[in-house]
Amino acid sequence: MSILTPTKGAQTIYRINPVAKLATAFLLSLALILTIDWLSAATALVLESVLLAWAGLSVRQFFFRTIPVWIAAPTAGLTTLLYGQASGQSHFEFGLIHVTDGSISLAVATALRVLAIGLPAIVLFVTIDPTDLADGLAQVWHLPSRFVLGALAGLRLVGLFLDDWRSLELARRARGVGDRGRIRRILSQAFALLVLSIRRGSKLATAMEARGFGGDTERTWARESLFGWRELVLIGIGAVIAAAAIAAAVLFGTWNFIVG
């Protein structure tokens, strides 16, 4: 339906525990935010792109889902190019804009970095079913079940909010206040939506309590969240890519620690 709904499929990636996907995306991001240089990002990106074939998405799905990254990467690159820290040979200067050798290489590094972090993160996340993620967080990582299940149940209300929003909009037109300034109308509508969602939320909480949620009994889990060799392989792949990126940057002397 939207850019937010998880995709479904029969490939292995869909059966991998979501917490392993989170861990993998985290590893890759961590390695790439430690340094800002073009080589580490390019290495990671090349290795990742080989793996995208197994990501469980069709080419069309892949580009549809990753649109935000394809927009963000050149934008971030361009901004860095124009306003980034100046160093080396200067090529162009106008007001705050200053294009130099230094800002060019920073821009390339930034754009590649956004792609290398963003693409695998999105590809891993779109194959996550929220219910499976909640199971994983509670059973594998042992996060408090009240928190995890509360959030999961609340997520389901988001779809209802969209319908509420449309009805609120029509109702405001019908009540004669639809001609007001757009910003004022949206603010008042947002407040009304907040009131409605709190009411819905408390009804949902009652329904959950009525089914024994939040009691003292130790909870069992109808769906087992498994963490086995498949999950370890995925995290291993992430670790190898992260290590390769760092190694390449250090070996060829492009490594620059982002802090300090």
Binding site: L160, S167, R175, G176, V177, K203, A207, R211, T217, A222
Partner: protein
């Protein structure tokens, strides 16, 4: 811990009362009641008699000391009701806020998980419960794709899987269309037969449950029990009184003021070959011809999902037609240049087309009932004197005067409905569009609403109503448009 089925539970109340933390009056007080294991009870009482409060207390979800104060004693299966979670299972009125998880099987399993039932046993119970309520869908079927009746049956299955000794149903069919009502009623009957659990139902439509229950208990508004006994006897003895307080009883149909005037008024609106859709580019129905006249009532009927509300909102100038055009006559448009209501300004709609939404909460804008009624007149820039006069007249006419300073969101269902109609009448539109105006209403609000609308028709107003309610159609409609 064992996981055997709970035996049917007894209920006993001794001088029990409950007061919400924010209120001065006790919602329930001095209640003495005994229900035997396996009994099936229909709980009646005027709005505000504390029926829902009692149900929440029996289910153990009424909240702790910060939510309110309790006195007397309420026991379920011999235990204090506050610790009765797991013995009693509760199904509530609103289908949307009862679905907890995204997949059918997981949703049914949720209660079992919370009770610590082992995994194999959970899935056995899930299959059994879905079967008992007649839901024959894959376990990973998305719950968002279910109809209202299916959602209520799903909630019932979730309760059943917990194998409770007491099943509590708080107006489970009030928000459903006639097919949904029958689905849920039949599922409950089957469940009551096979499990033998004690059953307590609140519902103001008596005929739905009459054949399933073996006892009727009527709560008194001030506290205590007004009548108690075998259904036919109680309804015979107390029928007139119950009917006056809002309970639907077939032998005592609500009284309505008949329409007196038969109008041959002017045409207000025409549409031919109209296609409708919520979102631009999608058409959910087409080829609709409709004409609306002064002093005439038109009902839009048909199954769920046929586009009834969408059609009404399109004619009301709130949604753009997907094809064809809605065309207002000079009599409706007045001095406006365009005859197409969707192009009118929001303010121009006020005196021409008034729309009452299905969910009153969507159309509330102010923090008091009085201000709510003044929103429309104020947008028309009437003088303060005129605004006060209109608001006062409506407060009295719709019995809202004692609530003029209350927050609209805190009103009861019937009061909210009356207020939502009053807000629209405040700007005196020529045409009134109502989306399911009688949904979930008790018979008192129903007859007030029908009488009010009959009066408006006599005055020459045009009315268009989306409805599932055959009694409403019979009482008011001149024309019927059926979508399929």
């Amino acid at each position: 811990m064992t996981h055997d089925r709970q035996p049917p539970a007894a209920v006993s109340a001794r001088g029990w009362g409950w007061r919400h933390a924010s209120r001065k009056a006790w919602a329930v007080d001095g209640l003495d009641l005994d229900i035997e294991p396996g009994e099936r009870v229909l709980l009646l009482g005027a709005s505000g008699a504390g029926k829902s409060t009692l149900m929440h207390a029996l289910a153990g979800v009424i909240g702790g000391d910060d939510e309110g104060e309790q006195r007397g004693e309420l026991r379920v299966a011999g235990r204090d009701a506050t610790s009765a979670r797991g013995i009693a299972g509760l199904v509530l009125q609103d289908p949307d806020s009862q679905v907890i998880l995204a997949r059918v099987g997981d949703d049914v399993a949720f209660g079992c998980e919370n009770l610590g039932v082992p995994r194999d046993e959970i899935w056995r119970r899930v299959a059994e419960s879905l079967d008992a309520v007649g839901i024959d869908l894959p376990l990973d079927h998305p719950t968002s794709a279910l109809s209202g009746g299916q959602k209520q049956r799903l909630a019932l299955a979730g309760v059943l899987a917990m194998q409770p000794g007491l099943i509590l149903l708080d107006e489970p069919t009030a928000n459903l269309d006639p097919e949904g009502v029958a689905e849920v009623r039949d599922a409950v009957a089957r469940v009551a037969r096979t499990t033998g659990a004690t059953l307590i139902v609140i519902e103001h439509r008596v005929e739905v449950w009459r054949d399933i229950v073996d006892r009727v208990v009527v709560l008194a508004p001030g506290g205590g029990v007004l009548a108690d006994g075998e259904p036919d006897a109680v309804l015979r003895a107390r029928g007139a009184e119950l009917s006056a307080s809002g309970v639907w009883i077939p032998e005592f149909p609500p009284l309505v003021t008949e329409r007196r005037v038969s109008w041959a008024g002017e045409r207000l609106m025409d549409a031919t070959g109209l296609g409708i859709g919520r979102v631009r580019g999608t058409r959910i129905a087409g080829g609709i011809d409709i004409a609306l006249d002064e002093g005439k009532a038109t009902a839009i009927v048909g199954p769920n999902g046929a586009g009834k509300s969408t059609l009404a909102l399109t004619l009301a100038g709130l949604l753009r037609p997907a094809e064809g055009a809605v065309s207002a006559t000079q009599a409706l448009a007045g001095q406006l240049k365009s005859t197409s209501p969707i192009t009118w300004r929001s303010k121009d709609l006020l005196t021409r087309i008034g729309t009452v939404f299905q969910d009153p909460e969507h159309q509330f804008l102010a923090s008091t009932v009085r201000d709510e009624l003044a929103v429309g007149p104020r947008a028309l820039e009437l003088s303060d004197g005129d605004i006060d006069a209109r608001v006062d007249a409506l407060l009295e006419r719709l019995r809202l005067d004692h609530l003029s300073l209350a927050n609209p969101f805190t009103l009861s269902g019937g009061e909210k409905r009356r207020l939502s109609v009053a807000t629209v009448l405040a700007t005196r539109p020529k045409m009134l569009v109502l989306d399911e105006p009688t949904f979930g209403q008790d018979s008192r609000t129903w007859s007030e609403l029908v009488s009010l609308l009959a009066g408006l028709l006599d005055e020459g107003q045009s009315i268009l109503a989306v409805t599932h309610d055959a009694d409403f159609v019979a009482a008011l409609a001149d024309d019927e448009i059926r979508l399929s």
